[in-house]
Amino acid sequence: MKSLSQEKAEFLQVLAARIVPETAALDAVGLGRFFGIMDEALQGRPPAVRRQFAAFLGILRWAPLARYGTPLENLRADRQDAVLRWFEDCPVSLLRKGFWGLKAMVFMGYYGQPETNKLVGYAPEFDGRAGLHA
């Protein structure tokens, strides 16, 4: 990714697997599309927003250190989820918003791929009249 360091991109992949479990099963091509969509979205945002996104990833990674003594990627999956849930509902609105932004980015990278549309049963047709009366 042009928008994130290799280390941050790898951590983002760890988070993505908790947010959209299907991303863990993406092949190289799918992962390329996944990161490509997110990268393009980040590139379209002001540099300050890209820096804030990268900083938020750092906060998420190291937030468990005080309680568990290790960064998030080393926690068991259920503990990773608990940390993420805390951020989603965090009393500090800035952190809630940061987590919302992260989720939106991961959802865009996965569900924004036309290739994943059929996996959720979404199959639009330019002429939808036949489907309407099926």
């Binding site: 479990p21 993420l84 919302w100 932004g101 036309p114 979404y122 309407l132 099926a134």
Partner: protein, 506 residues
């Protein structure tokens, strides 16, 4: 300085900035002046997509047709704004719902000289020319019919949306630009008519500043769509008579602020309203037709006057749907995989106009939107979620996902406990997805510069050559889907310019 030396010069009599509902309607209304030798240009920031470029692909279309791909943040990042950037502006990417503004609302606007009868007469003109009509019953999909069923079961008042389509094939892709060219936005109706009269529409052209009838503009090459009529580069575009600003709620006020008009217009950029909106999802036992057919056929105005919210049918695409659900992980994926069984409702709050909600500029001169989701507004959104959940269950949904739900799903067996299961304390900005359904205000019409930016004919106070003709003119929210009202106001602004053409052109 080198850049300014290479600036190319263009001269017109009338320059219109923006080609959406306001700019497109004004261009067509002013176009007959071309027969008298008047030169008119429309400068549009966005591109003109070729018909075969409307791919229906969510991320692709969002990046080509929306500012910030439809996710512009408010300053506090508690809301996102979606607004269009294209030949035709936001009329390319709305669903085409075409309501005229209620008499009560025009009265509440209280703009000197602006009468309901005048707005309504003009609105009906656009209703007719945009082929606005009600879809036949057999063209309405189950997502919409279930909403009707649920509301009727609960004895809530429901109306059918009139829509502006011609030859609709039910792709349900309206918000990504109709791939069948059925939606009768300004890109299909008013702009081609204006061009036939001699109006020039310059796409990929961003106006950065206006000073004394001169617009600084930059033409770019976005690498999609038809090439702009002008080469990429910087331009100074002189409007000998009139500049008409129709760039929308974010761009019109920010352009005028950047150009220094805020110095004598204290209300410039202020009192914007956004119709804050969110999506709820109900899951049915069996697949329903939801992404085939027009996505938006009904609205419920039962709570319009009592609780200041509306419910509308809607159908969104996988990414937008995913980001509007709360939570993540396995249960989120499970609901996404139920996509063909999902019924969706959009709720929108009718927000008050307060001066603190405004468009301003950052240190780079780019627009920033300040908007506070107040406790009363959050109360409204909460109330609308309770009602929506009841509608889903009354329609037969087996479970409901509400953004403020205490659990990810509320089962039908708990239908009588929605108040307890959707606690008000869970309506937290930043946690739930809230977006603007309609952007309004910022260049409000009114009496004078103390209370507004423009008069009832769209003329900016104290600047006889500068007009506004878009939804930024709204002094308060429209309380209904606003595009027909925008066209009616633009029609009025254009008539004012035409009637004074002799004086203005002298």
């Amino acid at each position: 300085m080198a850049g300014r030396v290479s600036m190319r010069e263009k001269t017109y009599d009338i320059v219109i900035i923006g080609s959406g509902a306001g700019g497109g309607a004004a261009a067509r209304e002013l176009a007959p002046l071309c027969a008298d030798g008047v030169r008119i240009a429309v400068l549009e920031w966005g591109a003109k997509l070729r018909d075969d470029e409307f791919s229906g692909r969510e991320v692709d279309m969002a990046s080509k047709l929306y500012f910030d791909s439809g996710g512009t943040f408010t300053r506090d990042r508690a809301m996102t704004l979606a607004y269009g950037r294209a030949y035709g502006g936001s009329t390319v990417i709305y669903t085409g719902t075409s309501l005229t503004m209620p008499k009560d609302v025009v009265a509440r606007w209280n703009v000197p000289g602006l009468e309901y009868e005048d707005v309504q007469r003009r609105a009906l003109k656009y209703v007719e020319e945009n082929n606005v009509h009600l879809l036949a019953e057999d063209e309405i999909n189950e997502n919409n019919r279930l909403f009707l069923k649920g509301c009727r079961e609960l004895r809530y008042h429901v109306e059918q949306f009139p829509i502006n389509v011609k030859g609709c094939k039910g792709s349900s892709l309206c918000n990504l630009g109709c791939p069948n060219q059925a939606k009768q936005g300004t890109h299909r109706v008013q702009l081609p008519q204006a061009e036939a009269h001699g109006v020039e529409v310059i796409t990929n052209c961003r106006v950065t500043k206006i000073s004394d009838r001169v617009c600084d503009a930059v033409v770019a090459d976005p690498r999609f769509g038809e090439p702009s009529k002008w080469e990429p580069g910087e331009y100074r575009v002189t409007a000998k008579v009139v500049v008409l600003c129709a760039g929308g709620v974010v761009n019109s006020p920010s352009l005028l602020l950047r150009s220094g008009f805020g110095d004598h217009l204290p209300m410039l950029g202020r009192s914007i309203t956004l119709h804050p909106a969110l999506i709820l999802v109900g899951e049915h036992e069996h697949p329903i037709s939801n992404f085939y057919g027009h996505p938006k056929s009904y609205y419920c105005d039962e709570f319009w006057k009592s609780d200041s919210f509306l419910l509308e049918t809607c159908m969104y695409f996988p990414f937008v749907t995913a980001k509007n659900l709360i939570g993540f992980g396995a249960e989120h994926s499970e609901l996404m995989r139920a996509f063909p069984r999902l019924q969706m409702i959009l709720v929108l709050a009718l927000d008050p106009a307060v001066p603190e909600n405004r468009v301003t500029l950052d240190t780079h001169g780019d627009p920033v939107v300040d908007y506070t989701l107040t406790e009363p507004l959050l109360d409204t959104l909460h109330a609308s979620m309770l009602v929506s959940a009841r509608v889903f269950f009354a329609a037969g949904a087996k479970r409901v996902h509400a953004p403020a739900g205490a659990s990810f799903f509320i089962d039908a067996t708990d239908a009588d406990r929605v108040e307890e299961l959707i606690p008000r304390t869970n309506v937290k900005p930043g946690k739930i997805s809230i977006t603007s359904a309609h952007l309004m205000g910022g260049c409000a019409m009114g009496r004078d510069a103390k209370d507004s930016v423009a008069d009832g004919w769209g003329r900016v106070h104290g600047v006889p050559w500068l007009f506004v003709a878009d939804s930024s003119l709204f002094p308060r929210c429209s309380e209904v889907n606003p595009y027909v009202t925008v066209m009616a106001l633009a029609d009025r602004v254009a008539e004012g310019i035409r009637n004074n053409a002799g004086e203005l052109l002298a």
